[in-house]
Symmetry: C5
Subunit: 260 residues, 5 copies
């Protein structure tokens, strides 16, 4: 459970709700306009759907669950695991990694281990795994894209809604000030919804999916370097030393203290 | 038929139309101003034409039909096909691919197969096909560019129209409020049209063409890697394993289950 | 004569002129303010001059004539020419290209042919021609930059003019409404000019120069690959096949039909 | 102590405070609205938290202390140190660097020296240190990201606050002018806070963290090149000459004069 | 003396001054508000200082003198010089370049000649000079950054000043219209100053410094290629032909005519 997403949205929406409630002395009715919800939301979501292949939209929605499941990409843990495999390979030969290549939860690691066991040529292994990482990054971009498109079209559609309301208003300027004020408020609600889509709905999702993608690619890079080092027949200590380059100095010291 | 484009535009325009209809209680006349259509649309399209070579404009219009024909780039299908070719080549020699090199619907695949059959040097094959992919990506950028230019110039031309109307208005401020309101409404219609061009007309087209281009390049990359692997005389299982790097873990498992 | 630039500007300015003429019922006087022309235009051009070396400004102005002369970069034509050279070289030796290396209208092709005739080392030829392409792209960026700078500073200077007029206005708010309206109109004319510079004057020029540069680089890339293929002593059919990667499938088929 | 950060914030906030104080004749009360602080600040910080993994947020906060501690990355000093090591290695062998590899304050240098002493293969050393620099740059991006996100969401959330206040206001347009003015002032305070977050709070922090990251990467690049040169058994003068490429001509002359 | 910078600023400021003078009939007092100068200027400069390390600020100020000294990077001249060195080296050996390596005004050329005379390994020479060019580009970015930051923070701080003034104003809406107008004018002066910082003060400086940096890097690239060609023992004609790739066709012809 990634507490960050929940916490962040909680703070942002809490602050927004508190502001609305405080400024209107608790009468937040004026901020809720179903017509504007349909107009702004439908327009932004529709434009994003029109601009994104269906496959990418589905990928986006699937990727969204990662926002809450949190990243399990503990680099230190991956390094320990790989050093363990290096020790096994050293002691009992790479064939002893057979079991791990079937049981490991991460399919990338399973595949990499299988290639190592098969004695595939190191250059081929690197090419296969590199393609896999690059294809994953490309797919992640799709996953992020739909939310980024919604966030991007949000303010534009808020502007559309605002203009639609204002045009209606200016055709009827003879009305009483209260009616004009009320109509202007409706126009501003459209702008508000557009800004909300960008700032407290879709924007942070797109940002975070981009981040999670980088973390996954980073974790897979560590795995790949480790597997290639095992395949090169390196001593477990050398494998460890190579992989420690991926972590901070602080983490390096913690890991060395644990190892000692 | 790519349902996504139709669906997305349907939702966006539906939401916009509903909003206009609801806010004016069904009198959507104020949103339809032929003069502003000519002013904003002509200005944005004209600026985009001036900024794009004619060849690229024609490419843009041709590319637009892809928005509805949908992408036929099913990576799993391509992989199966290539593995089939690898089996044929293994069993009967590469010359047995002659028929496929004539019948395949994709000219890139035909060309690649022909080069393979001709026994062209692998490095030359890779260079030729790589140039073909790169040149295609470059052409696709042209195809996307015109729509992106229309989308970019849209809001600027909406602003032009709004200013043109407001300047006319402010020269005649002595008029009655109704006339002023009506003139202001005309000014806002210009802004509305500019925002519509960007958000619910040309913007999503440009976005989607960019996406489709990436998908085509991805599909051709898979084909190229597969053909090179066949040419290297690899076992069909090795060809398959190499190409599976291009698909998700989920797809990998589906494909392995089907193969088993 | 590149009809696109003329056509595009014609449409954009026609639409703008029609809009002004229609909205004011033919009295377009309010849109013409010499002071604002000097203020906005001088400010944008001056800022662009200050931000661009004189050499690059001269390059910009020279490059502008390309907007109307059109691109003569017909890839199919270049390919045919090079295949012809390959046939000559095959039949009579590379020295037979001497005449072409003196008569060809494109200095890049002349230089490339000369290097080929001189029997310069292929790697050196590639490096020399690559530097020439890269240096050309760099110079083209300069040529585009001045117009891009004018387009970028346009709206900012329009805002400056608008603020200058509004500040003068607000110091004299006691005047009659007609005077205020007229002054506001002047302020908006400044904004209008800024938006015009960006959208219907300098913006499309900058866009198109960028495009033309890419096309020239593309044409020179085709020439370079062809010359290197001739130098490698390739069969004219192989040279043709390699260069056909640069054109679309449709063009490939047209060319093959013509050749057959 | 990096005087720049303190000085810059002092000038910016001093100018802002002076402006507020002067314009209101010392009554700066209207600029202080706790509700708007909660609304704008909470919304921007919440959106940034939702868009950033917790790990990266913590990295951001840790990185912030670098803003004040200043950069200790004196390239000239690093070069002198490495030339000293080169002299030691020349005179007494690389094993004589053992002590330095334990005492040096920078863990990257310690690690690099240790690898050199161990006689690790130069290509492996380069790869390990390169991964370490790249991973550091990646982590620094995370450290910068949170502040950049706060700066980015700031104006959007200021707009949200402004709209929330204006909508409440327009529902009650019948009030007296003073009340309306006061309510409009509250709306503008929201916008003001958003602009402050971007311009005088989070924006400069994000900028400076980006700078500091580049400087650290630059310093580590110098160290790596120096260590590789020592490992190649180069003469201390050659090591020095190679590293002097990293500094300006002015610094080169100063260093040569000191050395002479 | 680079006439471009002076000319550009002259035109921009002339146009702005003329506009102010003409619109107010010569009473430009309303545009001069010391409080706003302090508020907007202090805020933008302070934010830029806070976001830039002190070293980079000093580099920025030093780099600014280049705006007026003009670029002495005449590629044709550099080529002639290097061809002269190639002739000397051919005739009298590279040691005859000793004098030039001491007298040349450009330290990069001096250093390159010295490395050539020392008979340093060509790959090492290329690496050293490449690092020098890259480090110079990096430093130039710092030099440009401060001005770019001032330009970027300018409009934001102009908005801050405008909001500060408007908030004060709306608290006192009961005042007479003249007072309100005057206060609004003050608010707009803040916006004006922000737009001026971006468009006619810091923006062009940042643009031009970026340009000058590219030109210096280009000139040094020409020098490096020439020196490497001399070191490879190439014939002066070959050196010339290689370097001519860096100049336009027009310049090539001029140079060849002069040489003939």
């Amino acid at each position: 459970m990634d507490i960050g997403t929940v916490l962040g949205y909680g703070i942002a929406w809490g602050a927004l709700g508190f502001g609305m409630w405080h400024i209107t002395h608790g009468a937040i009715g004026p901020y809720i306009k179903p017509t504007e919800v349909i107009l702004v939301g439908g327009c932004a979501v529709g434009a994003a759907i029109a601009g994104t292949p269906l496959k990418a939209i589905i990928a986006s929605l699937k990727a969204s669950k990662k926002l809450f499941s949190g990243g399990h990409h503990d680099t230190a843990h991956i390094i320990k695991e790989i050093v363990g495999y290096a020790e096994t390979a050293r002691r009992d030969g790479v064939l002893a990694l057979e079991q791990a290549s079937k049981d490991h939860p991460d399919p990338f690691m399973r595949r990499g281990l299988q290639l190592t066991i098969d004695g595939t040529d190191p250059e081929v292994v690197e090419r296969i795994l590199r393609i896999e990482i690059d294809a994953m990054i490309e797919r992640h971009k799709h996953g992020k894209h739909f939310w980024a498109a919604v966030a991007k079209f949000g303010p534009g559609c808020g502007l559309l809604a605002c203009l639609v309301a204002q045009i209606a208003l200016f055709k009827n300027l003879n009305g009483d000030p209260a009616a004009i004020g009320s109509a202007l408020a409706v126009a501003l609600v459209g702008t508000l919804y557009g800004a909300m889509i960008q700032n407290v709905i879709a924007g942070p999702i797109a940002e975070k999916l981009g981040f999670i993608s980088k973390e996954e690619a980073f974790a897979k890079e560590v795995m790949m370097q480790g597997l290639l080092s095992i395949q090169a027949g390196n001593n477990p200590r050398v494998v460890e030393m190579q992989l420690m380059s991926f972590v901070t100095t602080g983490q390096q010291q913690v890991m060395m203290r644990q190892a000692a």
